[in-house]
C-alpha cells in the first residue's frame, strides 16, 4: 500500500505543472483578454469592468490563486460558442472520446502484442520481415489521412461501412439511454442489440484509424523486448534447466518483455489522446477533440484551455495506471518505495 500512496503523491507535481502551464497559456494570449471577453461592442469602460470582474487587473500570483480556486470548484469558465460552462460541455462529450480511445487501444494491443511476440520467436523469418514492414508503413501514415482513406475505400467505394456521421446515425437510430455515456455499453445495458451493432459499426473505422498509429510502437517494442528477453541469461538458465518451451516463452520471456511494453504505453496514450482530435474531426465524432477544434477556430479560449487541462489530467491518470501496472509486473519497483 505504501507504494500506491507514493505513486499517488508522485502525480501531484505533474498535476501542478499542468495547471501552471495551462495558466501560463491563458496569460500568454496575444492581445487583451478583457477586450476579447467584453465582446466587439465594448467600450473602454465596459472592458475595464470585465477586467476587474475577471481579476485581470490583479498581479499574476493573485490571478493564479484565483485560477486554482476556480479549478477547485470545477469552474473552467464559459464557452463563447455554446454559451455553457466549459466543464459541462467537456463532461458531456468526454465519454464519446474515451469510448473511441478505448476501442482503438484494444485494437492496437490485440494486434500488436501477438505480432511482436510472433516476430521475435522467428527472427529474420518472412513473418518477422512482414511484421516489421507493415509496422513501419503503418507508422508513416498520418492518422487523419488514414481516416479519410478508410472512409473513401469502405464507405464510398465498397459501401460496407456506415456513413461517417459520428457515433450513431440519428436518423435511423436513437441514442441509448444515458448511463455511462459510452454508447456501446449503454446499448448493452438497455439490451438494445440493434443499436449496439450500429454503434459498433460506427466505431470500427475510427478505432482502426486511431489504433493503427499506436500499433507500430507497441509491436516494435514487443518484438525488441521479446528478442532481448529470449536472448537473456535467465532464459538460457531456463533452457539449461530443461523447462518446456511454452513455460520459457511465457513465464520467463514474455513476462519480462512486458516491462518495456508497459513503459511505452505512456507514449502510446499520448499519441492516442492527441490523434483523437484529428480522428474526431474526420469522422464527425461528437467528442472533446472535435469540440476543441471548433473552439480553437472560434478563438474560444476558455474552451481550449479547459480541453487542454482535461486531456492533461486524463493523461496523468492514465500514466498513473501504467505505473501501477508496472509495479504489478516488476517486484523491483515495489521494493524501491
Amino acid at each position: 500500500m505504501a507504494f500506491l500512496w507514493k505513486r499517488l503523491l508522485g502525480t501531484i507535481p505533474s498535476l501542478l505543472g499542468v495547471i501552471v502551464v495551462t495558466f501560463l497559456l491563458s496569460h500568454a494570449l496575444p492581445g487583451d483578454p478583457a477586450a476579447y471577453f467584453a465582446g466587439p461592442a465594448a467600450n473602454a469602460a465596459s472592458i475595464a469592468e470585465v477586467r476587474t470582474k475577471l481579476g485581470l487587473d490583479q498581479p499574476l500570483p493573485v490571478q493564479f490563486l484565483r485560477y486554482v480556486g476556480d479549478l477547485a470548484h470545477g469552474d473552467l469558465g464559459n464557452s463563447l460558442t455554446t454559451g455553457q460552462a466549459v466543464t459541462t460541455d467537456l463532461l458531456q462529450r468526454l465519454p464519446a472520446s474515451l469510448e473511441l480511445t478505448f476501442y482503438a487501444l484494444v485494437f492496437a494491443v490485440a494486434l500488436a502484442i501477438p505480432m511482436g511476440v510472433w516476430a521475435a520467436t522467428k527472427p529474420d523469418s518472412l513473418v518477422d520481415h512482414l511484421c516489421r514492414a507493415s509496422v513501419s508503413v503503418a507508422a508513416a501514415f498520418p492518422t487523419f489521412f488514414v481516416g479519410l482513406l478508410l472512409v473513401y475505400i469502405f464507405y464510398f467505394l465498397l459501401d460496407i461501412a456506415p456513413e461517417p456521421v459520428g457515433r450513431l446515425n440519428e436518423i435511423l437510430y436513437t441514442a441509448p439511454p444515458h448511463v455511462t455515456g459510452a454508447y456501446t455499453l449503454d446499448a448493452l445495458i438497455a439490451g438494445d442489440f440493434a443499436t449496439f451493432r450500429a454503434c459498433l459499426a460506427q466505431l470500427v473505422l475510427p478505432a482502426i484509424s486511431l489504433g493503427l498509429f499506436a500499433l507500430a510502437p507497441i509491436a516494435r517494442i514487443t518484438r525488441a523486448s521479446m528478442l532481448q528477453a529470449l536472448g537473456s541469461d535467465f532464459t538460457r538458465t531456463a533452457r539449461a534447466g530443461g523447462l518446456p518451451r511454452g513455460k520459457i516463452l511465457i513465464t520467463y520471456a514474455f513476462r519480462n518483455a512486458l516491462l518495456p511494453v508497459s513503459n511505452v504505453l505512456g507514449m502510446v496514450f499520448s499519441f492516442l489522446l492527441g490523434s483523437n482530435v484529428l480522428i474526431e474531426q474526420v469522422y464527425g465524432w461528437q467528442g472533446i477533440g472535435a469540440y476543441a477544434v471548433t473552439a480553437v477556430l472560434a478563438s474560444d479560449y476558455a474552451a481550449v484551455q479547459g480541453f487542454v487541462l482535461m486531456m492533461a489530467v486524463l493523461y496523468v491518470l492514465l500514466n498513473l495506471l501504467v505505473d501501477l501496472l508496472g509495479t504489478v509486473i516488476d517486484p523491483r519497483v515495489r521494493f524501491e518505495a
Partner: protein
C-alpha cells in the same frame, strides 16, 4: 570407472558475417563418475563454447562439423530438442557466471527452483515448496524459508550463485557444468562457492566440469585439468602432474604467467604474440606461431595426441 561424459573429436564453427570462425577443432575429453575436471584457457580459447555445446545450448550461428558428445548413453548431438530438454535440469545441469542476470529478475527464487522440480522431479504439487526449500538449505543458505520468497535483486551475488547451484542440483544431476561460476564474485565468496561445489560433487558422486580462466582455482579444486588454446585442447593431465610437469609449451607459459603466492614480478613470463585469427587458414598446431619450440615437424598435419602416461595427454610434437 565409467565415463559420464565423453567428447570425441568434436569440431564446431560459427558462421558469421565476417567469415567462418573455427571455434573448436578435434576436441576430446572425458569426465568420469564423481570426477571434477577443469577446462582452463584464456578468453577466446573456446572453453565456454564447449560447455554450451555439451548442454546443446549453442548459439544459432554455430554449426557442428564433426565428432561426438556422449552423455551417459545419450548421443547429445543426435538427440532431438525434446530428448535434450528431458535430460537438462534432471541429469545434466549448468551454472553460469554473473548469477544475478542468470536468474529471472521478476520471479521469486523459490518459484524458479519449483519450475525445475515440477518439470523433472515427478512430485505432487503440494510437495514442491518443501523440496525447493530443502534445495536452498542444501546449499547452506541461511533461513531458506524466508529466502524462498526473495527476488534475485534482494540477494547478494554470492547468494544468487548459491540459488543457481540449488537449482542446478535440485534433481541430483549426474553432471554439473560450471561456467566461470565465481567470475565477478569477491575472493572470499569465491572460496565459499567453490568449497560448496566441491563438497556437493563429492557427496553426491556427481561429475563436474569446471570452466575457468584461473589455473590457480582449477588447481585447487579439480582432479584433472584440460588446457585449451585457440579452439584446441592442448593438454590433459591430473592436477599435480599438470602443475608440476606441464608438457605443452603453452601450459608451461600459462603457469608461469599466473601469479601465485610464491611468484615474483621478474619470474612472471609473458606469452609473446596473440591468439591466431580463427577465421583464417590455421596451421595444424594453433600455438606454433607463438611457440619457442616450434620445429618443421609441427607444420605437418595431423597433429597427434601424445601419451606421456595413461592419464597425461599432450597435443604437441615436441613436448617438454
Amino acid at each position: 570407472m565409467t565415463a559420464q561424459l565423453t567428447i570425441e573429436d568434436f569440431s564446431l564453427v560459427f558462421r558469421t558475417r565476417h567469415g567462418t570462425v573455427r571455434a573448436l577443432e578435434d576436441v576430446s575429453l572425458s569426465v568420469e563418475r564423481g570426477e571434477i575436471v577443469g577446462v582452463v584457457g584464456e578468453s577466446g580459447s573456446g572453453k565456454s563454447v564447449l560447455a554450451y555445446a555439451v548442454m546443446g545450448l549453442q548459439d544459432a550461428a554455430a554449426r557442428v562439423q564433426g565428432g561426438r558428445i556422449l552423455f551417459g548413453g545419450l548421443d547429445m548431438l543426435g538427440a532431438g530438442e525434446q530428448a535434450l530438454a528431458d535430460v537438462r535440469g534432471r541429469e545434466l545441469a549448468m551454472i553460469f557466471q554473473s548469477p544475478r542476470t542468470a536468474l529471472n529478475p521478476i520471479r521469486k527464487v523459490g518459484a524458479q527452483i519449483e519450475d525445475i522440480l515440477r518439470e523433472h522431479a515427478n512430485l505432487p504439487s503440494r510437495e514442491l515448496r518443501k523440496h525447493a526449500i530443502a534445495a536452498l538449505a542444501r546449499v547452506r543458505i541461511p533461513d531458506p524459508e524466508r529466502r524462498y520468497n526473495a527476488y534475485p535483486f534482494e540477494l547478494s551475488g554470492g547468494m544468487c550463485q548459491r540459488v543457481m547451484i540449488a537449482m542446478a542440483l535440485a534433481c541430483s544431476p549426474f553432471l554439473l557444468i560450471a561456467d566461470e561460476p565465481t567470475t565477478g564474485l569477491d575472493v572470499t565468496t569465491q572460496a565459499v562457492i567453490m568449497d560448496l561445489i566441491r563438497d556437493m560433487s563429492r557427496d553426491q558422486r556427481m561429475s563436474t566440469l569446471l570452466i575457468t580462466h584461473d589455473l590457480g582455482l582449477a588447481g585447487e579444486y579439480c582432479d584433472r585439468i584440460a588446457v585449451m588454446h585457440a579452439g584446441h585442447m592442448v593438454e590433459i593431465a591430473p592436477v599435480e602432474e599438470l602443475l608440476s610437469r606441464p608438457a605443452h609449451p603453452y601450459t608451461r607459459q600459462l603457469l608461469a604467467a599466473t601469479p601465485t603466492p610464491r611468484s615474483t614480478v621478474e619470474g612472471l613470463v609473458s606469452i609473446p604474440g596473440q591468439l591466431p585469427d580463427l577465421r583464417r587458414d590455421l596451421p595444424p598446431c594453433r600455438f606454433s606461431a607463438r611457440c619457442e619450440r616450434h620445429v618443421a615437424l609441427c607444420d605437418e598435419a595431423p597433429l597427434p595426441w601424445t601419451s606421456l602416461s595413461a592419464t597425461h595427454l599432450v597435443r604437441c610434437r615436441v613436448p617438454l
